[in-house]
Symmetry: none
Subunit: 350 residues, 2 copies
C-alpha cells in the first residue's frame, strides 16, 4: 500500500517534522494541535489539508496527553492505523490496553531524533534522516506495521524492532541519564559569578546544551521511566563520591578520565544521525546594523543557497564571526565572490 493521508495529532517539533517530511513525499497531511498558535504555524509550514480518509494517525503529543486521545481518535477513524512517538514505551501499552483502541491497531514507536528546541518553529523535514526509529511490533496487525514502515522509510529513518521494556532500559541510559546529568550540571552554574560565565568555552556549552530542553516534556518522560533511571543515577552518585575521595590522586583521576574515554568510544560514529555534509565558510564582520543584510545581498548576487548559519560574537569584541553552511561548490563560489568584494573571508572547513 501507499500512504495517502496521515493525521498528526500534536504540532510540536516531532509532529511538524513528520508532517514536513511526508508533504515532501506527496502524502496528504492533517496537522492538529490543542494549541491554536502551534496548529496554525504547523498547518502553514506543512500545507496541511483535511481528509475523511485517514490511513495512519500519529500521536505526536507529550506523553501524558495520549491516554485521553485514544478513544476519540479511534472512534473518529476506526479504519486508521495508529502509532505514537513517545520516549517511554511500556506505559503507553498499558494505557492502550485500558482504552477502546484495540492493541493490534496500535504500534508503539519512538523515533530517535530530537532537538533541545521544541515547537513547530524548530521542525525540519530531515530530522529523522539516518536515525533509528524504534517499534515494538509484537501482536500488532501487519497492515499497521506496513503503514508505519512506509512512514519510517519516507522520512529516511530505519526501523529497529525492540521490546518495549528493553527500549525503556536503553533510553534510560542513552537519553534520560544524559538529560538529567546535563540539567544537574547546568544547575551548578547558578553558583558562579556572571563574569566567570563569560569565559565559558565549547565544553560547557556542549555539555549543557540539552539542559535547555523543555521541563514539561521531560518531567513526564523521567517519571514514566523512573524505574529504569534510578539504578543508573545511584551508580553515578557512587562514582561521584569515589572521585571526591581521590581528587588529589593523579592516577585515580586519570582512571576516571580513561573510563570516560572508553565509554565515549562505545558510541558508534556512523549509525547515529547522518551528518549533513556542508562546507562551513567563516566570515568576520563588523558588529553593526546592516552588515547581515549586506552579507546576504552578496549571497543573493553570487546565487548561492545558504543552508544554515551561526553567529558568534564575544564580549568586548568589535567584530562578529558569521559561519555559513553551504554546499562545497557554493562555498567556493561565495568565498571567491566575497573576497573580490573586500569581505574578510577565512578558509572554509568541512
Amino acid at each position: 500500500m501507499t500512504l495517502s493521508h496521515v493525521r498528526i495529532v500534536g504540532s510540536g517539533l516531532i509532529g511538524t517534522s513528520i508532517g514536513l517530511g511526508l508533504a515532501l513525499k506527496g502524502v496528504g497531511v492533517t496537522m492538529v494541535d490543542s494549541d491554536g498558535r502551534a496548529q496554525s504555524l504547523a498547518r502553514d509550514l506543512v500545507k496541511s489539508s483535511p481528509s475523511a480518509d485517514i490511513d495512519l494517525t500519529i500521536f505526536a503529543t507529550p506523553l501524558g496527553a495520549v491516554k485521553s486521545l485514544l478513544d476519540g481518535e479511534f472512534s473518529a477513524n476506526p479504519h486508521s492505523a495508529f502509532i505514537d512517538i513517545g520516549s517511554v514505551k511500556s506505559k503507553v501499552k498499558v494505557e492502550v490496553s485500558t482504552s477502546s483502541m484495540p492493541l493490534n491497531r496500535f504500534l508503539p514507536t519512538h523515533p530517535m531524533a530530537g532537538r533541545e528546541m521544541g515547537g513547530a518553529e524548530s521542525a525540519r523535514a530531515d530530522l529523522f534522516q539516518g536515525r533509528a526509529w524504534i517499534v515494538d511490533s509484537q501482536g500488532v496487525d501487519s497492515d499497521v506495521i506496513a503503514r508505519a514502515s512506509e512512514l519510517i522509510e519516507f522520512l529516511g529513518a530505519h526501523k529497529v524492532d525492540l521490546d518495549s521494556s528493553e527500549h525503556d532500559k536503553a533510553v534510560a541510559l542513552i537519553s534520560h541519564l544524559p538529560q538529567l546529568v546535563s540539567s544537574l550540571l547546568a544547575k551548578q552554574l547558578d553558583g558562579g559569578e556572571a563574569g566567570w560565565l563569560e569565559l565559558a568555552g565549547a565544553g560547557l556549552r556542549d555539555t549543557t546544551r540539552i539542559a535547555a530542553s523543555d521541563a514539561k516534556l521531560w518531567r513526564e518522560i523521567i517519571t514514566a521511566n523512573s524505574q529504569a533511571i534510578k539504578p543508573l543515577l545511584e551508580k553515578l552518585q557512587s562514582d561521584v563520591g569515589a572521585l571526591i575521595g581521590s581528587l588529589d590522586d593523579e592516577s585515580s583521576v586519570a582512571q576516571v578520565i580513561e573510563e570516560g574515554q572508553r565509554g565515549r568510544a562505545r558510541i558508534p560514529g556512523k549509525h547515529g544521525g547522518k551528518a549533513r555534509e556542508y562546507t562551513y565558510l567563516p566570515i568576520v564582520i563588523e558588529d553593526k546594523p546592516g552588515q547581515l543584510a549586506a552579507l546576504f545581498d552578496e549571497c543573493a548576487t553570487a546565487g548561492v543557497n545558504v543552508e544554515d548559519l551561526s553567529i558568534e560574537h564575544s564580549p568586548g569584541q568589535f567584530t562578529g564571526l558569521i559561519t555559513l553552511a553551504l554546499s562545497q561548490m557554493d562555498a567556493e563560489k561565495l568565498g571567491d565572490h566575497l573576497k573580490a568584494h573586500g569581505w574578510s573571508v577565512h578558509s572554509p572547513r568541512r
Copy 2:
C-alpha cells in the same frame, strides 16, 4: 613595542596554535618540545627559526613540566618576558616564587580555548579568535604585560585580568566540573549493550564529547585545582541524591530541569554578560536564493537590529523557517512591517 621573536616551549595544541597565529602576523617563532616528533612537526608547520634575541618566552607545556623549565629558560634569555598558558594559576605562581625567575618577569595567563583533540596536528591559527585570554597582572612589570598584550591581540583574543585564585574558582566551575561530569557520564555507558549505543542521538554525543579529552593533561589539571573542584562535586553529589529520592514526583523532576534551564541561560550568547531577553519572531519563507537578502532588506527598512537568527531548512524542503531574535519592541515593529508587506510572519514568542 612590537614583538619580533617569540620562543614557544611546548609544541602541543596550544603552543603550535600560538606559533601559527604569530607566524601569520610576521612574528619570528622558535618552537621547542622535549618530544622530537612533536617539535619537528610544529617547526615545519610554523616555519620555526632560531634567534638569539627573544622578546617573549611562552611555557606551553602540560602543567607539571613548567617547574623544571623555569631556571633554565630564565638563564638562557634573561631579557625575555615570560608567560605560561596553564589551566590552573595559583600553583604556577608558587612554583615561580621558588625558582630563580623573578615574579615580576612572569605573567600567569590562560587562553580560554582548546579542543578535545590535542597535539600539533590539531593546531589552528584561529584557535584563539574571539576568545578570552586571562592574565593575572598584579606585580608584573609593565613591559612584560605589554608584550603579552600584543600577543593576545595578534591572536585575535581579548585580555581579561583576573586574580589567580579567582581564576581557579571560575575554571573549576566552567571547565573542570563539566570535564569530570562528562567523563563520569560517559563511564556509565560501559553498562549498556552495544545495540543500545547504536541508538544514541546528538544529546549523548554532545554531553560526552569532552570525555574524549586527554587523561594525562586532565589528571594534572584536576589534582592541581582539587581544592576548588571538591565543593562543586559535593554539591553535585547531594543534588544527584535528592533527585534519586524524588524521581517519581513530576514537580520535583520539573524543578531540576528548570534549574538546569536557568543555569544554562546564564551562559552568555551573542552579547556576553548582559543576559538579554530576546523576542523570537518566526517567518516562513520560500526556499530559494535571494529570500534571506530580501528579508534583511526589510529589517534594514524597518530600522530594527537583528540580535541573532536561526534558519530551519532541510535540503529539498519547499519552505524554510527563519527565526529572528530581536528586542521586544523591534519584534513588534518588524512583525507589523513584514505582515504589511505580505510576509508569512507568525506570532512571536519570548
